[in-house]
Amino acid sequence: MKIDKYTAILGNVGAGCLDMGGLTKERPLATLPFDGKYRLIDFQLSSIANSGIRSVYAIFSGKNVRSVFDHVRSGRVWGLNTLLSHYFPSFLEDQEDCRMADREYYSQLLTYLKTSGSDQTIYMPFDILCNINLEQVIHVHNASGGKVTVVYKRLPKTQISEMNEILQIDDTDTVAGKISLSDAPEIAPMNADIYVVDTPWLIEKLEEEAKKEQMRKICFVLRDLLAEAGALAFEHSGYLANINSVQAYYQANMDMLDPQKFYALFYGNQKIYTKVKNEEATYFDADSRIKNSQFASGSIIRGAVEHSVVGRNCLVDESASVRWSVVSPKVQIHKMATVEYAIIDKNVQIPEGVTLRGSADNLLVIGKGQEITGDIIQ
């Protein structure tokens, strides 16, 4: 593939509007940990890298510089810091309405798009977790001759929120319109907000939007254009999760304990890259008891772990037990402590004998570095 033909834009759709139970208090949705060793943005950046795209413009909230810089840095892991690649993180002020943008948003975005000289632009949101072969979508888009192609996924309505939209797709795989969530079938074709758009046309449409008094973010502009432009609809057949709530985030992690879903996300012919860490292997003690769980490197497991995801560099000490939980990196669960139906964010210390317990319907979320002094049962 020749250089400079494609540009990718990354941004949020729902984030900022959705309640993530404090998980996105100190970080953008983009850097939320996933499956013990990843961050959500790894999936978008890897899909982009794997398809050979070397120009990436990523839109973050202005207060998240640190978290983004820490993880992505110059984009080296994804091959985005070579002489011939361009990675540009844009840190912008949040608007009161999470769907809206300001003048600066459009000024920077349009400058990047125009200087990219690209033929096509790919938009991907941080809210959608999947491992997609973009080359295939681009190929179909080019064959169609249309201006814009949208990726959709058939999902149960329970996994779709008001921030999403359901597409009406005709026999020729063309977007004919939209359906409201209430009118949609139980398994509904949800717009995944992944788009392939011809760049000159996109620039034209964005310039129109930028002239308005009230400017919307790019993905909302694109949504409105789909029916008008007769967009081609591309169904993603692989795993896809819509990270629009704490429950959805938890469920996506639990999905990884289903080998089929796990393999679908990680073992396509496309690798998922993440920041390099040098950790020792996971050590399972002579007394450890494990059932259907995942472990990232560096951890020491002496207790019992069931149906859980355990991050890098964790400790599950003797006689401690972890069940139906998501444990982020650098969490220490000391002797005889119990963790159930919980999401434990990074750097939490769980003292000896303490019990942290949520339930399947009411998950317990322990924030990053939160101090635990006694049992929490909710």
Partner: protein
């Protein structure tokens, strides 16, 4: 002091005593401990000791070693005035430059060494498992005004006759060197780690070449010549875990010793990390049917069998009902349902077929790289 000391790792050995494990790859590239290749220990020691330039001298099957080391970025050796360089044979105007011995390899790469222009050269071999601060050794070298310092480790007297033994005076100055002495006079065994003043070593090698004196091996020729010339040659005493993994038995043993969290090597000490080229893989997956005890499991593994006191390297698959005990399984290997593997080293990408029994109780069993043992897959 940009490049005060250059490290040169002798990674050329074919390592015939490792049999199948070095058939197509150089010995320093053999895997270890689940996440490593043997040379990672020397490279990480260099990085942690603040050494900025490392030359890796190799001439046997370098493909995997080359792609493993790359530009040294996995060990932080890609900064400015910093680098890892692979040194292989080449042809020059006066003929082909093959490497005929340890010090001859240095002689043949003199142009490279001079381009770095170090005051000291540190000579290392790429096939030992240990953690050592070469900066501390250099400090002693300078303090003693030595022209050569040899790192030694004390071995039991009864084993001393298997090593090169350094007999020293009260001040650690070497007075005599005996290669595998029948009746050892001391327990100071050479670790094959040397610090030389580069200009002095260079002069000696160049003169020897000119006068057609054999100076091709450090142990056989160079150290005796230094002692003969009355050069100040000192030992540097190393205390800690050190293991030559040159045989199947010792490689297996070193891996088994590595499993425990509190092993003698202190492998989980974060202030002296061992780095390696990162292999991309998701977290390891321990299924409902598995039991994993007293074992190390690396990213990318999928385990449904029974693992006891073993190491599973990256991307190993162990199917239901398979049992792995006291074994070191290299990356990408598959152990099929019902297979039993005991006291074995399983090579990269190997497949142990259904219900196959690999039993190394008598002598450590070895399965070669990509070897398929037992009935082919029936899927």
């Amino acid at each position: 002091m940009k490049n005060e000391m250059l490290a040169l790792i002798l990674a050329g050995g074919q390592g015939t005593r490792l049999g199948k494990l070095t058939q197509n790859i150089a010995k320093p590239a053999v895997q270890f401990g689940g996440r490593y290749r043997i040379i990672d220990f020397a490279l990480s020691n260099c990085a942690n000791s603040g050494i900025k330039n490392v030359g890796v001298i190799t001439q046997y099957q370098p493909l995997i070693l080359n792609s493993h080391i790359g530009n040294g970025s996995s060990w932080g050796l890609d900064g400015i005035d910093t680098g890892a360089t692979i040194l292989q044979p080449y042809s020059a105007k006066e003929g082909n430059r093959w490497f005929l011995g340890t010090s001859h390899a240095i002689y043949q790469n003199m142009d490279y060494i001079d381009s770095i222009n170090p005051k000291y050269v540190l000579i290392l071999s790429g096939d030992h498992i240990y953690k050592m601060d070469y900066d501390d050794m250099l400090r002693q070298h300078k303090d003693k005004h030595a022209s050569l310092t040899v790192a030694v480790i004390d071995v039991p007297l009864e084993e001393a006759s298997r090593f090169g033994i350094m007999n020293t005076d009260a001040n650690d100055r070497i007075v005599e060197f005996e290669e595998k002495p029948k009746h050892p006079k001391s327990r100071h065994a050479s670790m094959g780690i040397y610090i030389f003043d580069w200009q002095k070593l260079k002069t000696m090698l160049v003169n020897a070449e000119k006068n057609e004196v054999d100076m091709s091996d450090f142990g056989k020729n160079v150290i005796p010549a230094y002692l003969e010339h009355g050069e100040p040659v000192y030992t540097y005493h190393f205390h800690g875990y050190w293991k030559d993994v040159g045989t199947i038995e010792s490689l297996w043993e070193a891996n088994m010793e590595y499993i425990e969290v509190d092993n003698a090597l202190n492998s989980r000490d974060r202030s002296w990390k061992i780095y390696s080229k990162n292999v991309i893989a998701p977290p390891n997956f321990i299924s409902d049917e598995a039991t994993v005890n007293d074992s190390l499991v690396v990213d990318g593994c999928f385990v449904s069998g029974e693992i006891e006191h073993s190491i599973l390297s990256t991307n190993v698959k162990v199917e239901e009902g398979a049992v792995i005990k006291d074994s070191f399984v290299m990356s990408g290997a598959t152990v099929k349902a019902g297979a039993h593997v005991t006291r074995a080293i399983v090579g990269e990408g190997a497949t142990i077929g259904e219900n196959v029994v690999i039993d190394g109780s008598e002598e450590v069993a070895v399965v070669g790289y990509n070897e398929v043992v037992g009935a082919p897959d029936e899927d």
